[in-house]
């Protein structure tokens, strides 16, 4: 019986990539001097798990490479070595290299051997340069070889239930036999009479002698999967007492290490068993979220059984109970749905965590001094949004580093602190998530952009543009104001892609800037892509859904509150504010709208971009939660419509895009 190891690869890679992220974050913290011993331990543990895992799964090159990193980290942990800035650089590069190797292994690509060699040598260099006597990587190997006794005595007695865990002693013995000359005998004294024999139980035990050039660690590896289900003792058959002691001590060491490395591997295996089919993309869910779900489903089942009991023998006297039950059912379904949505929510730190490294590398490359401040990393966003927002954010942060923050001497000359600051902020506002990228650099020169826009034929010379319109020019394809093209940014590709990506998520980007003081790019994204609370309205024969988050209130207009601007633009006076009125029937050319006079219909007061508008509809229907379906997947984007949904009766209703409607009316 052999286990198909392939099925665990996905989990191994996922865990390893996570481990690499942990190492990277830890190393960056070390570099900032924020680290304590625990940080080093964390990095070490991550490296160790990767080494253990890659060894187990047969990725020898990764295991070898991680081994030398681990050696270095071990010395740092033990205080033998101090990690310098350069040392951290080398380690960070090694993390990149590992990531490259891991990606190559998981996608079936080729490993760039020269890069591995370069990093390997760099690590060796650090290890070799030290005065400390233990040039560990080579020393260890040398030690173990000299310590290797010519023979080992192995006694292996599996527990009774050994085979029930899917283990096979023959496999282990075969593997031992490949390592050297294996002799031994099997002990059959525990085997019961044939009638009492349970073929699924284990009754045998072995005493073996293994001759050959084998280390204890290698033997331990063979038994590592079964050590919980069997008694194993491995002793060296050596004449040199001192040496044996030495080995014993050493082997104790390795035992601890081996135990440490096994733990994560085992849990990975356990994890995997629960997920029978490895999915292409997976999500890690906190156990508390799952518990909530289970509770919710429990409640739902109780409500369901109550209702079905009620239905079995129903008369009008029990109507009240039925209504009560239905209300409960409604509440539970809603809670269940919210919890399920919660599972898709991931903290934005998943995206933010790549930036410390990026800022550090880029600022070093450009000789700028930049500190990164992040707030609201725990703000949760839909996983799809998180995945898609990463690249636009990278572009924007790169731009801030390259174009925004000035060189240190320029900053001092401008009376600013030498070190520039880039802030990443994530927070909720209304039904949206806002991500702000703020820098205190030189800001955006509106005149330069305006002139460039004229030059590129995007703006007519002499036309007057608002600040926002000028900034929007930045997001045009091929628009770059960088006087010199660097490999960081400045090719003018990117900003248009940034805008496109954000728009495709149903979001928007705004730019604010003060020349000489810095810029703020603020990205507004919907909380989730899948479901929204909507107000259903009718115009003519059609139903539309207005997202509840953008509705302020709904009113029945009275004649005296209605005014005309220049005989055309209709306004509604809501308290002290005159609101422009948008007629859906006009914007969408709906011929059969029932209400023509404003007094006959209803106004839904909506808010978008900080402004209020009155949306004129025939009638209001109920509020309901709707699942958003894309119109684009089979058709195309329609102005003023953000998507479609399916109503309870199976018909389709379109969801209004409130900011889009306002743009249409302009």
């Amino acid at each position: 019986m052999s286990i198909d190891m392939e099925q665990f690869h996905q989990v191994f890679f996922e865990e390893s990539f996570e481990g690499l992220d942990i190492m990277e974050t830890g190393l960056l913290n070390l570099d900032n001097g924020e680290a304590d011993d625990e940080e080093i331990n964390t990095i070490f543990r991550a490296a160790h798990s990767i080494k253990g895992g890659s060894g187990t799964f047969g990725f020898q090159s990764i295991a070898d490479f991680t081994h030398i990193m681990e050696t270095l980290l071990d010395e740092v942990r033990d205080g033998i070595r101090e990690l310098t800035h350069d040392g951290i650089n080398v380690l960070l590069k090694s993390v990149d290299c590992l990531r490259m190797m891991m990606t190559a292994e998981s996608d079936g690509g080729d490993i760039d051997d020269s890069e591995v060699k370069t990093n390997f040598d760099a690590l060796q260099n650090i290890l070799g340069s030290s005065d400390s006597p233990s040039d560990n990587s080579t020393a260890e190997v040398a030690d173990t070889t000299s310590d290797v006794p010519s023979a080992w005595k192995i006694s292996f007695s599996p527990h009774k239930n050994f085979m029930q865990f899917g283990n096979d002693p023959a496999r282990i013995i075969k593997e031992l036999a490949t390592m050297g000359q294996l002799t031994g005998h099997v002990d059959t004294k525990n085997v019961p009479d044939f009638v009492d024999l349970n073929p699924e139980n284990m009754f045998l035990s072995w005493d073996m002698e293994l001759k050959g050039n084998v280390t204890k660690e290698q033997i331990d590896d063979v038994f590592s999967w079964v050590e919980d289900e069997s008694d194993i003792s491995i002793t060296a058959l050596s004449k040199n007492k001192e040496k044996t002691q030495n080995t014993a001590k050493k082997s104790q060491d390795t035992k601890i290490k081996a135990a440490a490395s096994q733990a994560p591997v085992k849990s990975a295996a356990a994890d995997k068993k629960e997920k029978s089919a490895p999915a292409n993309s997976s999500i890690r869910v906190g156990i508390n979220k799952i518990d909530d779900l289970i509770n919710m489903v429990g409640e739902l089942v109780i409500t369901q059984s109550m209702l079905s009991m009620l239905g079995e023998d129903f008369n009008m006297t029990r109507l009240e109970k039925l209504q009560e039950g239905l209300i409960q059912l409604d509440r539970h379904t809603r809670e269940l749905q919210e919890s399920v949505m919660q599972i898709r929510m991931v903290p934005i730190s998943f995206t933010f965590s790549r930036f410390p490294r990026m800022v550090r590398d880029l600022s070093e490359k450009l000789d700028k001094k930049i500190q990164l401040v992040m707030h609201g990393e725990n703000t949760e966003l839909d996983k799809t949004v998180i995945e898609k927002i990463g690249d636009p954010l990278v572009h924007l942060v790169r731009n801030s580093i390259d174009h925004g923050i000035e060189m240190p001497e320029d900053r001092i000359a401008a009376g600013k602190p030498e070190t520039g600051t880039i802030q990443l902020n994530a927070f909720h506002r209304g039904g949206n998530i806002v991500i702000e990228i703020t820098d205190d650099g030189k800001g955006i020169d509106k005149d330069v952009i305006y002139n460039k826009g004229v030059e590129k034929g995007l703006v007519e010379a002499g036309s007057k543009l608002s600040d926002q319109q000028i900034y929007d020019l930045l997001f045009n394809p091929g628009f770059s104001t960088a006087t010199e093209i660097t490999d960081v940014s400045g090719r003018g590709v990117g900003m248009d892609v940034v805008k496109k990506n954000i728009m495709s998520l149903g979001g928007a980007i705004e730019t604010h800037s003060v020349k000489g003081q810095g810029s703020i790019f603020s990205i507004r994204l919907p909380l989730t892509l899948a479901i929204l609370d909507g107000q259903s309205v009718t115009v003519g024969a059609d139903n539309y859904i207005i997202p509840l988050v953008s509705i302020v209130e709904s009113v029945q207009p009275k004649k005296e509150q209605l005014n005309m601007v220049a005989g055309k633009g209709e306004t509604y006076k809501l308290r002290d504010e005159y609101l422009p009125i948008l007629r859906i029937c006009d914007l969408f050319n709906i011929p059969d709208a029932k209400a023509d006079k404003l007094e006959d219909g209803l106004l839904v007061v909506v808010e978008a971009d900080g402004k209020h508008f009155g949306v004129f509809v025939d009638d209001l229907l109920g509020q309901q939660q709707v699942v958003i379906k894309s119109l684009e997947s089979n058709y195309k984007r329609i102005e003023g419509i953000s998507g479609a949904t399916i109503l309870g009766d199976g018909s389709v209703a379109l969801i209004l895009d409130v900011p889009g409607l306002i743009r249409m009316s302009d």
Partner: protein, 169 residues
């Protein structure tokens, strides 16, 4: 000589398909007969009310809920600028899969036709190239002409006929 014989033997299992040619679903539209590659047809449905899409061309009747997917419905009479008629009991919606755009996005769309006629076979050799009528008639959606029991059958190029950019500019 012997090689010739062998190659013939090799081809023979394919001959049932090769001899009859591709299958086309035929339908009528204002007294004209059209054919669509049957492999593109996902299902046939009776006409039912759709949800209108604002600011769309007349021939886009609206969208329909097809088992959770939002599917646009195109009236082929109006698409081809034929005379418009009311929908009757025989009016059928043919749900088609369309490869559209440079990325070959697979879209699902429905077309409204007067009635379904038949399934016919047409060999490549029997299909005649679409004659050119100059600028007076646009024939870009018609991939060829075939003969079905003495009636002319216009074979439609589904992708060209239903490409979003082609339809909506």
């Amino acid at each position: 000589m012997s090689t010739d014989v062998e190659s013939k033997v090799d081809e023979s299992p394919l001959d049932s398909d090769a001899e009859l040619g591709d299958e086309y679903l035929t339908f009528s539209l204002a007294d004209e007969e059209y054919g669509i590659d049957i492999l593109r047809v996902q299902e046939l449905r009776g006409w039912e009310m759709v949800t209108r899409i604002p600011n769309s061309p007349e021939f886009v009747k609206g969208v329909l809920n097809l088992r959770g997917a939002i599917v646009p419905i195109i009236d082929l009479r109006e698409r081809f600028n034929l005379s418009v008629s009311d929908y009757t009991e025989t009016t059928v919606v043919i749900v088609l899969s369309v490869n559209d755009g440079p990325d070959d996005n697979e879209r699902t769309m429905g077309v409204v036709v007067d009635s379904i006629s038949d399934v016919v076979h047409a060999k490549m050799s029997e299909i005649q190239a679409t004659p050119k009528f100059g600028s007076s008639l646009d024939t870009e959606y018609i991939s060829g002409l075939a003969d079905a029991d003495g009636k002319m059958l216009m074979l439609l190029n589904v992708d060209a006929m239903l490409s979003i950019s082609g339809m909506l500019g």
